[in-house]
């Protein structure tokens, strides 16, 4: 397999001049017909602080080098120095468009390490969290892609729908974005009937609202022309690059961890794994649209099947007790004190747990040395690994395609940069 061919601009004098001081570059040879364009990190179409150095020949992209790290906050280092419970709020700030699914992914990994299974009611609620997060995230992805190629209306409509989900988050966990909803071995609060009625109302309107977006875009010549056959990747390239999520499925590979390596109660739910074969920007947009409808289907099933029962596992030494019991019972006070100050005592070992988040496979790899803090915690962030395909997708395309391609990858830099 040939290795990447973007070495050339990396070593060029132009690029090093740009990297050194971000200033104007003087070109000695007037006949040199390629130029280097520095796009980002402060650019509205890069979805955050992604920086792409693009080498252009006229309007054609010769090579592109994405630069990451502008939002690097060292979360893996922070994780090594905090207890397992303390890290939960940090997971909100990874993929900040779907905080709930990060919460779930993280606690699943810790629960796998310590060998705790949450009650069924909590599992259903967690599935609903993941699917609401997926819908919210795909809404932004679709809306932002449409905005990037010039259709602002869709973004506003998508945000209107997303706002309804945010309201549900608000009732469910008391926060719209920084949810920190899951706990190791359970959940922070129970699902309420108010959440059920809000979600039912959202789902009742949802199909119509998606159909509205579809009529707006899928018969729109400008949108189709901007997206069709742009950012193509072959099936072999997609697999070789290790892409996951809608990018992989848009290339005709039906990999979905919810079905292939099921976690929570996904094996009991009925849903389709959406694939497309064209592997271009438009196909990825289709896949996301159809996935939202599948998520809505899953949510309806969850609402029907949601069992009664406890939401926290009965493991006094590992699961945080309820606040009112801490204040009134001695045992719970001791357990809470030990859990907060010393952390859970997990076994020595290494675990990896991946979940199918909206961007792709979000995974947590924990190396435990038996103490209350992880020895090493690696975040497998789908956004970063999907961005790796950017040079390949851009090469040979037009400069105006760059924003469409970035929109189709749907990177969230909070997660890519950790």
């Amino acid at each position: 397999m040939p290795v990447r061919t973007v070495e050339e601009p990396v070593k060029s004098r132009l690029l090093s001049a740009l990297e050194d001081q971000d200033t104007t570059v003087m070109i000695d040879d007037a006949l040199e017909n390629t130029m280097v364009l520095n796009m980002g990190p402060q650019h509205p179409a890069t979805h955050g602080v992604l920086r792409v150095l693009v080498k252009l020949d006229g309007e054609t992209v010769v090579a592109a080098v994405p630069e990451l790290g502008y939002l690097h906050r060292g979360y893996e280092k922070i994780a090594e120095n905090s207890s397992y419970h303390e890290f939960i709020p940090h997971t909100d700030r990874l993929d900040y468009l779907s905080p709930l699914s990060n919460n779930v992914g993280y606690v699943l990994a810790v629960e796998k390490l310590i060998g705790v299974e949450v009650p069924r009611r909590a599992q259903f609620i967690r599935v609903m969290c993941c699917e609401m997060a997926r819908i919210a995230s795909h809404l932004v992805a679709g809306g932002a892609l449409a905005m990037d190629v010039g259709a602002l209306t869709v973004l506003l409509w998508a945000f209107r729908e997303r706002e309804k989900l945010m309201d549900i988050y608000d009732v469910l966990c008391g926060a719209r974005f920084t949810t920190s909803y899951t706990r190791i071995g359970g959940l922070q609060q129970d699902w309420t009937t108010q959440c059920t009625s809000m979600l039912t109302r959202f789902l009742d309107e949802f199909d119509n609202n998606v159909a509205e977006v579809e009529t707006l875009l899928l018969a729109n010549r400008i949108f189709i022309d901007r997206c069709e056959n742009v950012g193509y990747l072959s099936r072999a390239e997609v697999i070789g690059l290790g892409l996951t999520g809608p990018l992989l499925r848009a290339a005709g590979v039906p990999r979905d961890l919810r079905r292939d390596n099921p976690y929570l109660v996904y094996s009991e739910l009925d849903f389709e794994v959406i694939t497309a074969t064209e592997s271009d920007v438009l196909a990825r947009f289709y896949v996301r649209l159809a996935e939202m409808k599948e998520s809505a289907r899953i949510l309806r099933q969850c609402l029907d099947k949601l069992p009664q029962g406890p939401i926290n596992a009965q493991e006094a030494k590992r699961v945080l007790p309820k606040k009112e019991r801490i204040y009134t019972k001695m045992e719970e006070l001791i357990h809470d004190f030990m859990l907060i100050n010393l952390g859970i005592d997990p076994p020595v070992g290494e675990v990896y747990q991946g979940i199918e988040s909206s961007k792709g496979e979000f995974g947590i790899f924990i190396v435990s040395d038996g103490t209350g803090q992880p020895w090493r915690m690696k975040i497998r962030s789908p956004s970063a690994m999907n961005l790796q395909a950017l040079p390949k997708m851009l090469k040979g395309g037009m400069i105006s395609d760059i924003v469409a391609v970035i929109g189709s990858i749907d990177p969230v830099m909070g997660e890519a940069d950790k």
Binding site: V3, R4, L68, E350, Y352, F365, K378
Partner: protein, 162 residues
Amino acid sequence: MSMNERILEKLRSSFPESIESENMFRNDLTAQIRKSDILRVCRFLCDDAELAFDMIIDLVGTDMYRPSARFEIVYNLYSLKNKCYARLKVAVDENEAAVDSVTSVWEGADWHEREAYDMIGVKFTGHPDHRRMYMPEEFEYHPLRKDFPLMGVPDSIPLPRK
């Protein structure tokens, strides 16, 4: 026979000397491979028609902070055909902190290896674009090493000129 046993059996028969240890924890398979053989083993796992580990999901560099074999590199592989994961592990000594790059097997290992180099400072020989991933190129430390302080090193990142 479970998939994990099948993987181990094939590895044992093809590379009897390369496997230093095997470990199963929570049904996750980890095989520790001799450092010099990692590229061959990866190539075999990827090309083998039955196992077909065609995706690299993750590559983790860990600082174990011990006198010998200080670093560990963990390769987390996925087989689309069998829908299963497998982990390979390589122990790396501090004095010769370099491993063969597996970018020739999976292109996707590129950024993973850059990240591991950035964070713990293990070099990957044969990597096509061996730069840091997150930290600035002139940064001289590797932040995920255990001897790097949580608060960082003062003045280690130069501020932009006014």
